[in-house]
């Protein structure tokens, strides 16, 4: 079958759904790859590069849509493109079926199958094809870069000959994929980074990225993130108040705010109010990654950069991934490629659209003339914080009590062991003759010494220990030596055999131990 990637028709879109690299991987799956001439140009991939990778370059969008069985795209198709689909063709792209029912109906009426990359369920198995995450990652990174571009100072604090420069303070609101990427970028540029999220369980991730989590003086049972597929849920009015109060408190200190808070299928919540913007220092920058959904700051203008009266820059671009087209095309093409390899379990270049597969089912919007959106809830839940078991901090008294108890138990155990041992010894002594007891005492003491000595042996020397104990247990040779001089021939024969075998063991055991020990070297 043939996989084709047309040139994106959306204005300003620089990404492309196939790169020369991903094409090579797709060919390994058994597919032939097609690309519309000039499709990769804006992302920095020339037609020649595609040709070198074995991709057939086709002139004109119409021809490509006709030739390909599977069409991979970045943006959802427009009406013209959708009309080009025919029965049996599969379209893989961002589709947002929840918000574009007309388009879905149109495609469905054409009989084409649609796999919406934005509908890939958020389970760990599907992470490699989660295009929303890979795009969000880029957006988060780019948000910091854009902020820096519009921010008149260093990120990192410096002490120079000309004077001291304080570090920039960055606040990231919403610690999803984009938020975490923004945190990582900001901290690596040297800024002091704060982060906030309504899901307190992400605090650990935030801190692992080097930012400080902004905790609220507010306790409330938050909805479990797993129940909503790993996304944030709407919070209560009280919680919102506490949150805004905290932001208001820190707003004057913050130089750069990056907001990424989105709730699925809703308008973006307002988190950075007008008075907070007014409280910020001139020259500060706000990057609103939620601009497409109305913005976390209501002053944000979609796709534009504005400067407020008090000199705060608010950036409302929505095309961050497209601004880094080479990077985002590479990642998106890889997401597509992973999706294709799941669709091609046999690696024979034939799509096997398995509606039993959780991931494929979840992402499919239309299939064989039927609308299959919305999908049933995934069988596997997203990873979420396990309710943490309460580890009670022990008071010093409790600790001491525990220690005393342990000590007592130990003492008791030892006393019991000793008494039992003593009684057994006495019992043996009552019946056994003195000559036996003499040896028995030696035996008991030796076991005792053995236990004391062996505990000290290093774990790494256990094999030499076994070899050397093996060698010295051949001390039975003494017995054989004493018996070999016996008058009985049978005894002599068995004795001689024993001497021989023990001889092997003594030399073998000691030699091999020595050999092993000689190998242990210090660096």
């Amino acid at each position: 079958m043939k996989i084709g990637a047309p040139k994106e028709v959306f204005e300003g879109e620089a990404r492309v759904a196939m790169t020369p690299e991903s094409a090579l991987q797709l060919q390994k799956l058994g597919y032939d790859c097609l690309i519309e001439a000039g499709a990769g140009k804006a992302a920095g991939f020339s037609d020649a590069a595609y040709k070198d990778a074995g991709v057939e370059v086709i002139r004109g969008a119409a021809a490509l849509w006709k030739a390909a069985d599977v069409i991979t795209k970045v943006r959802a198709p427009n009406t013209t493109e959708a009309r080009r689909l025919t029965k049996g063709k599969t379209l893989i792209s961002f589709f947002f079926p929840g918000q574009s029912e007309e388009l879905m109906d149109l495609v469905n009426s054409k009989g084409a199958n649609v796999i919406a990359m934005d509908m890939v369920p958020r389970i760990s198995r599907a992470q490699k094809m989660d295009a929303l995450s890979s795009m969000a990652n880029i957006a988060g990174y780019r948000a910091v870069i854009e902020a820096g571009n519009n921010f008149g100072r260093f990120f990192t604090g410096q002490v120079t000959a000309a004077g001291k420069v304080p570090p920039a303070k960055v606040l990231v609101i919403g610690a999803g994929v984009a938020g975490l990427a923004a945190i990582g970028t900001a901290t690596s540029l040297g800024a002091i980074t704060y982060a906030f999220d309504v899901r307190p369980e992400v605090a650990e991730q935030v801190e692992s990225m080097g930012a400080e989590f902004v905790f609220l003086d507010f306790t409330e049972d938050q909805a479990d993130g797993a129940a909503t597929g790993g996304y944030a849920a709407v919070s209560s009015p009280e919680f919102r108040e506490a949150q805004l109060a905290k932001f208001r408190e820190i707003a004057p200190d913050i130089d750069i705010v990056i907001t990424t808070a989105l709730i699925p299928n809703r308008e973006a919540p307002e988190l950075w109010t007008k008075d907070m913007v007014a409280a910020m220092k001139p020259g500060s920058v706000i990057v609103d990654l939620a601009a497409e959904k109305g913005g976390n700051c209501k002053q944000t203008v979609m796709d534009e950069k504005i400067v407020t009266q008090n000199g705060v820059t608010i950036i409302g671009y929505t095309d961050f991934p497209s601004r880094m087209a080479a990077q985002s095309s590479t990642l998106y093409a890889n997401n597509i490629r992973h999706m294709m390899s799941d669709l091609t379990p046999e690696k024979n270049g034939k799509v096997k659209h398995d509606m039993e597969d959780d991931v494929i089912r979840g992402a499919t919007a239309t299939f064989k003339g039927k609308i299959t959106f919305p999908p049933p809830p995934p069988k596997v839940q997203a990873i979420a914080a396990q309710p943490k078991a309460e580890v009670k901090e022990q008071t010093p008294e409790e600790k001491r009590a525990l220690e005393t108890a342990a000590f007592k138990a130990q003492t008791k155990q030892q006393v019991i062991l000793l008494s039992v041992g003593a009684i057994v010894l006495l019992g043996v002594g009552l019946v056994a003759p003195a000559s036996f007891m003499q040896h028995f005492i030696v035996f008991v003491l030796s076991v005792f010494i053995g236990f004391q000595v062996i505990w000290g042996v290093a774990h790494s020397l256990h094999t030499p220990l076994m070899a050397v104990t093996n060698a010295i247990s051949s001390i039975v040779i003494l017995g054989a030596l004493m018996q070999i001089g016996s008058g009985s021939y049978l005894v002599m024969l068995l004795g001689a055999l024993s001497v021989f075998m023990a001889g092997i063991n003594i030399f073998g055991g000691f030699m091999v131990t020595r050999r092993m020990l000689a190998m242990f070297q210090k660096s």
Binding site: T463, I475, L481, M519
Partner: protein
């Protein structure tokens, strides 16, 4: 020659043996300690030859030298990966020798009885041991019987048990746990028969009960070890080690020789402690290991979610080139693939680049206690970067890359996360806390315990499929 000298020599030898074992507490002192052992053994043998064993000293020397040549050959020829087999084989020799010596004691009793009527015997005529026996009272003879009976019993179990262990370790016997129909009832029956024979023998002193017991004990040794699977071998080998010690001690009792008792007790307790450490490392009781197989689960195992993501050598090499700290976890798979040289070379290259490379050794990794340490030492990995589980477990969160080579159950997070898992509670190496984990493994599949390993499904885990040695050699070429 007076026996006073012999006794003095025995005391010195015993002290030397204790020093020899005690010296194994550190790698450097161990090199000296082995010489203490050799000196102790030489002293004991010489003292016996010129003392109580002087009767046939020439023949004895010839036999010892013959044994020495073979032992020498074996010790120098053996591959370090074959150490478990060698140790098991040597145990079987000790077991067999102990059995013979015990039998000899029995025959000597009969012999002494036979000639005591004739009277006029001296140590020169019948050998020193028989003379000793001849001076015993009836009670002492009875005790002697019990002692030699025990010596023969333990010796026989050690003999067949070690042979089977050898076969399993050398791959000559299937390493899966197999039992005859009847299972442990057969063992119990054989043990009961041995007890009955003991009473019988104690009362009559005849050869038949002794012979029956030998058959029963040989069977127990065979059947017991057949029922224990491959990965439990560390426990089995140390248990047999312990048995060979107890057999020597029992022989010491029957011969009235304190040095044998001392050494037997030392070896016996050493093996017992090793078995205990191994069992503890698997969080299983000694009994459950001996009874074979993993215990039943208490509930359904946790669902493992995600998928195993494979990776090629290029990806592993890139991660290694970027990493600052690397931990390698070797297991039996490394020994099977003979990959220790490749591992060592990899470590050398990474260390030359200034990376912090260390090894994490689980107590039951491999088929013998301390097996991995010896293999790595053979491949010239310095021992101070080879760490024990307790020493390194806290360092995993700060580790960039962990490479797991041929181990499975000892890195299974289910032991901590899943209370229903058969290995729940077993101490494991917490490698999943590292930033990235690569698992070198021949293919998909479960480990010895037969349980799924959630580590392989973790997001930070990549599966590096293929023979360990080939995989590492491929990797070596890519480390610049």
């Amino acid at each position: 020659m007076d026996f006073g000298f012999t006794t003095a020599a025995y005391v010195v030898a015993a002290v030397l043996f204790i020093l020899s074992l005690g010296g194994l507490s550190g790698q450097e002192s161990a090199k000296r300690a082995v010489w203490y052992g050799i000196a102790g053994m030489a002293l004991a043998v010489v003292a016996t030859l010129i003392g109580p064993g002087s009767g046939m000293w020439f023949l004895s020397l010839v036999l010892i030298s013959g044994g020495a040549v073979i032992g020498w050959q074996l010790a120098n020829k053996v591959q370090m990966t074959q150490m478990p087999e060698l140790v098991a084989a040597m145990h079987s020799l000790v077991g067999l020798a102990a059995m013979f010596i015990g039998l000899n004691a029995h025959f000597t009793i009969g012999y002494v009885d036979g000639i005591s009527g004739a009277g006029g015997m001296s140590a020169d005529d019948i050998g020193s041991f028989a003379a000793l026996v001849a001076h015993k009272t009836q009670v002492e003879i009875n005790i002697l019987r019990v002692e030699l009976y025990l010596g023969v019993f333990i010796g026989a179990i050690t003999f067949t048990g070690s042979i089977i262990a050898y076969g399993k370790l050398a791959g000559k016997v299937k390493s899966t746990a197999e039992k005859l129909p009847g299972g442990h009832m057969l063992n119990a029956g054989a043990a009961a028969l041995s007890v009955i024979c003991l009473v019988w023998y104690f009362n009559t002193g005849g050869f038949l009960p002794l012979f029956l017991m030998i058959l029963a004990a040989l069977f127990i040794g065979y059947h017991l070890i057949m029922g224990i699977g491959g990965a439990d071998m560390p426990v089995v080998v140390s248990m047999l080690n312990s048995y060979s010690g107890w057999a020597a001690a029992a022989i010491g009792f029957s011969l009235g020789n304190d040095l044998l008792i001392v050494v037997g007790a030392l070896v016996g307790s050493s093996g017992a402690i090793l078995s205990y450490i191994m069992c503890k490392a698997m969080n299983r009781s000694f009994i459950s290991v001996i009874l074979g197989g993993f215990g039943g689960t208490t509930g359904p195992a946790m669902e493992v979610e995600g998928e195993q993501v494979a990776i090629e050598a290029e990806g592993v090499a890139a991660a290694l080139n970027d990493a600052d700290s690397v931990v390698i976890i070797p297991g039996y798979g490394m020994a099977v693939a003979q990959a220790q040289q490749a591992v060592s070379e990899l470590v050398k290259r990474l260390r030359d680049k200034g990376k912090n490379v260390r090894f994490a050794i689980h107590p039951v990794a491999g088929r013998l206690p301390g097996h991995m340490n010896v293999l790595l030492a053979e491949a010239r990995v310095p021992y101070d970067i080879v760490l024990e589980m307790d020493e390194i477990n806290d360092d995993f969160p700060d580790t960039d890359v962990v490479i797991v080579i041929g181990s499975n159950d000892i890195v299974n997070p289910a032991a901590q996360d899943d209370p229903n898992s058969p290995i729940a509670g077993m101490p494991v190496l917490e490698c999943w806390k590292a930033k990235q984990v690569f698992v070198s493994k021949r293919g998909q599949g479960t480990g010895y315990s037969g349980i799924e390993n959630p580590l392989f499904y973790k997001e930070n885990t990549r599966m590096f499929y293929g023979d360990a040695k080939d995989s590492l050699n491929k990797l070596l070429a890519l480390i610049d």
